[in-house]
């Protein structure tokens, strides 16, 4: 065995262990998103949100919320928000508001009449080899006149 062959075996072993850890260590090691329900509201009202999630271990996370609007029979991106947060082990209160979910984004705070749905992605350890995500799509909710 030459030195280069040992390096190749070492590299392959490291890569294999890296990919294996990706399969074995999933996002549910850190957290689990159970449900995201957004209630209907009237224009100008702040919709209520029921967001059930559990954090099992502390981690630095990145969250991203996209709100989609039904536009002539197709879903189109309407507004969104994102941010970073140091999460701690907990099961936070589920009752939240739509403003809280979208971090007071001005466009999301004043939704016109229509049908919407939100897509939320939470990533643990973003930018590292242990970055793991979960995405949840809410129910379709309505903003009425």
């Amino acid at each position: 065995m030459t030195r280069i062959e040992w390096w190749i075996i070492g590299g392959l072993t490291a890569l294999t262990l890296g990919f294996l850890s990706s399969l074995v260590i999933t996002s549910s090691w850190w957290f689990r998103i159970n449900s995201l329900t957004i209630h209907d509201a009237r224009v100008g009202e702040i919709a209520g949100v029921n967001y059930d999630r559990e954090f099992f271990r502390p981690f630095n996370g990145h969250w991203d919320v996209s709100v989609w609007q039904m536009d002539r029979g197709e879903w189109a991106a309407y507004c969104g928000a994102s941010g970073d947060w140091p999460y701690k082990p907990s099961r936070p209160a589920q009752d939240k508001s739509f403003d809280w979910l979208t971090d007071d984004d001005p466009r999301c705070s004043r939704l016109p009449v229509g049908q919407y749905r939100a897509e939320l992605t939470l990533t643990a350890n973003p930018g590292t080899i242990l970055a793991r995500s979960q995405t949840i799509t809410s129910n379709v909710f309505e903003v009425r006149p």
Binding site: M1, E5, I9, L12, T16, F19, L20, S22, L23
Partner: protein, 147 residues
């Protein structure tokens, strides 16, 4: 020839390694280019719960281990271990994917494909295990100069 050098079923080993390498490279290239290769209704929830790049990367690494073991074949006493690890990874991975596809509503085609690949992989792994056993109990030095 050293006792642990691959002699029997060499054609099967080489063919399996070439197939595994081809699918490994193709799978990995498509996965990293962002294609949504694993749909839950075709591959099942178990497969979809893992990152597609990780599945593809494991297949590629397994096939590279095996190809490397075949290239070194006999020049290093423990080269059967490389073939054993490589074919074992590919066989185990395709077994898991076959099981996962069997639980999917439209997974029959993938289940049949992965099962066949897996069966061949386990056969090759068994042969590598026999060679590894020969290497383990071989009484000589590291094989250099053996006839």
């Amino acid at each position: 020839m050293t006792a642990y050098k691959l002699a029997r079923h060499k054609g099967v080993h080489v063919a399996f390694a070439i197939l595994a390498l081809f699918y490994g490279f193709a799978f990995f290239a498509l996965a990293v280019s962002g294609w949504n290769l694993m749909l839950p209704n075709q591959f099942g929830d178990l497969a979809v719960s893992g990152e597609v790049e990780a599945w593809a990367g494991m297949q590629l690494c397994g096939s590279l281990f095996m190809a490397f073991g075949l290239l070194i074949n006999g020049r290093w006493r423990w080269s059967p271990a490389l073939r054993l690890v490589g074919s074992g990874i590919v066989a185990a991975l395709t077994s898991v994917l076959a099981y996962s596809a069997s639980t999917a509503t439209e997974g029959a085609a993938f289940m049949v494909y992965c099962s066949g690949f897996s069966a061949l992989g386990w056969f090759v792994s068994f042969c590598a295990l026999v060679d590894f056993r020969a290497a383990l109990f071989w009484g000589g030095d590291d094989g250099r100069g053996a006839v």
